[in-house]
């Protein structure tokens, strides 16, 4: 079974870490994930930019509505995600609109990725 482990934390706190604190956490995490990586069981790992960099596409209306900031509703649940490589936010939004056309309802939050490690998991 493949599992996604979604990381939640207080953003104002994490972005108050000094560089030394941040580096310390990152290097400890690297050590902690080594066992899975060596066994070829570690998939992609990503760290997201803060929610201030997020844009949300509400697709429960036609045409979908672009809103600044993260997805902040509590009625809906996180059900999946895509990782795409785009030159601009507009390009990412266009792709999200394509998806929205065939799967309306709910929302997509578009959040830039600040750190990405493709992973070692065997397909």
């Amino acid at each position: 079974m493949q599992y996604a482990i979604l990381c939640y934390h207080s953003e104002s706190e994490v972005f108050s870490w000094t560089k030394e604190q941040d580096d310390a956490v990152m290097s400890k995490l690297m050590v902690a994930q080594e066992r899975m990586a060596k066994a070829g069981r570690l998939g992609p790992v990503a760290r997201l930019m803060p929610t201030t960099a997020a844009t949300t596409l509400r697709k429960d209306q036609d045409p979908p509505l672009v809103i600044d900031g993260p997805f902040a509703e509590t009625k809906e649940q996180l059900l999946g995600f895509y990782v795409v490589d785009c030159k601009t936010l507009d390009e990412a939004l266009d792709f999200a609109r394509d998806l929205a056309r065939v799967n309306p309802g709910g929302a997509y939050e578009i959040r830039p990725i600040s750190f990405f490690q493709p992973g070692t998991a065997h397909a």
Binding site: S12, Q21, T88, L89, F115
Partner: protein, 422 residues
């Protein structure tokens, strides 16, 4: 890294929210700060054993509020009862949690707290000192170190600022839209000044002042979280990130300034640049350009050039032209002239800055640019005069040292010229 260091980070990150909420309850900055201080002391006692609470800000607000109310009640036993408005809100503690969920309320609390610090009556240095003390929670000692000033001077600056602020009586009612926009602009300007206070530092003191830049970025992100759809706040945050990304390359080992052209671009912080670019992307969608966005766009063009030669100077020239329209100032024109020199040559740039001479007669950078342009045109004697003037008005030793380097080069060149002709 001790647990205490982490608890301190948690307290610092919760501080703006907590002090802002406590200020709304008590309507007095000193009481709010004391209440927060008290709740921090309790946190340091109980968190190491029990672990931090799920919502540290809410915990600190509740504990701070209760302890301050206790203190007022305690005093009231000895003194006459306080007027009702001294303790403006005596609801049960649970309501603190309910209010926590009300983002709009929170937002105006924090904005009010920030706005109080940049009251127009306060001189800039007092604004920044007050914000660092009250919002960021830096100690007087830390602020004094960053300002290269004595602790007693900083203490006095903050006390004076607080007195003026309490005299000025910032209204506690929920602000209307125009008022909110006005507060937002004032706060953005204060954050930008705070950043520049750290950024313009150079020489041996640079590492002492870098925390001011980090703090400005933290406050700017906070502001953007509260006002996620404001393109100028996106622009401001992007601008700070893009400029700060270059910090590791801005000074050499001796603390001397390294010009943009000569910087080791591999030292630039790519993560900060990426975040800055992402924010500009967001801002542009609003099609409401403003000074911060334009300056961020200029910084973005620099950050996207792998080598100085790859810089898109004609685009930078156009952006400065836009900035001149949005926010006319001789300094903007001076900056534009640097781009113009690259696009249309030093002669055109010199013609552009000549009319600024009287307005910028005390400005180091003006004479630096002028000297540089004259040097490019081979007018060595005039260049020397301009550089001498630059040294005379330099603010820091590093600025002066940088200009001396140019002068040395001029002297060497003319000596070499003399040798060649003799």
């Amino acid at each position: 890294m001790t647990d205490l260091a982490w608890i301190n980070t948690t307290l610092t990150s919760a501080r703006p929210q907590a002090v802002a909420a406590l200020l709304r309850y008590f309507r007095d900055l000193d009481t709010a700060e004391e209440a927060f201080q008290e709740s921090c002391l309790r946190a340091l006692k109980t968190w190491p054993q029990n672990g931090p609470p799920r919502d540290p800000a809410a915990w600190l607000i509740m504990v701070g509020r209760n302890s301050a109310i206790d203190a007022v009640r305690h005093r009231s036993k000895q003194e006459a009862l306080p007027a009702d408005d001294v303790v403006s809100d005596l609801d049960d503690a649970e309501s603190a949690i309910a209010e926590r969920l009300d983002d709009a309320h929170y937002r105006d609390d924090i904005l009010r707290l920030l706005f109080i610090c940049c009251h127009p009556d306060l001189p800039v240095t007092q604004q920044i000192a007050l914000a660092l003390r009250v919002v960021s929670g830096l100690s007087v000692k830390e602020i004094a170190r960053a300002f290269l000033s004595s602790e007693s001077a900083v203490e006095q600056r903050i006390t004076r600022a607080k007195r003026r602020v309490s005299d000025a009586e910032v209204p506690f009612a929920t602000p209307g839209a125009p008022e909110r926009a006005q507060r937002l602009a004032a706060v953005a300007a204060m954050i930008y000044l705070l950043f520049n206070e750290g950024y313009s530092a150079s020489g041996g003191d640079a590492h002492l002042r870098a925390p001011l830049c980090d703090e400005a970025i933290r406050l700017s992100r906070l502001l953007l979280r509260l006002f996620p759809s404001e393109p100028e706040i996106m622009g401001l945050t992007a601008l700070l990130l893009l400029q700060h990304a270059r910090a590791p390359a801005r000074l050499d080992a001796d603390g001397a300034i390294v010009l943009l052209e000569d910087q080791d671009r591999s030292l630039w912080d790519r993560k900060m640049i990426a975040e800055g670019l992402a924010l500009i992307d967001k801002a542009v969608r609003h099609k409401r350009p403003g000074p911060y966005q334009v300056q961020a766009a200029i910084a973005a063009l620099h950050s996207q050039a792998d080598q100085p030669e790859a810089t898109d100077w004609s685009q930078i020239d156009l952006l400065y032209a836009t900035l001149e329209r949005l926010q006319p100032s001789p300094i903007v024109t001076l900056n534009r002239a640097v781009a113009v020199a690259k696009v249309r040559g030093p002669e055109a740039a010199l013609a552009m800055i000549e009319p600024l001479a009287s307005q910028l007669s005390g400005y180091f950078y003006f004479f630096g640019v002028k000297g540089g342009l004259l040097m490019q045109l081979g007018r060595s004697e005039e260049a020397r005069v301009a550089f001498d003037r630059a040294i005379a008005v330099a603010n820091t030793a590093a600025e002066a040292a940088h200009i001396r380097m140019h002068l040395d080069r001029l002297t060497k060149d003319s000596a070499a010229g003399a040798r060649a002709t003799s």
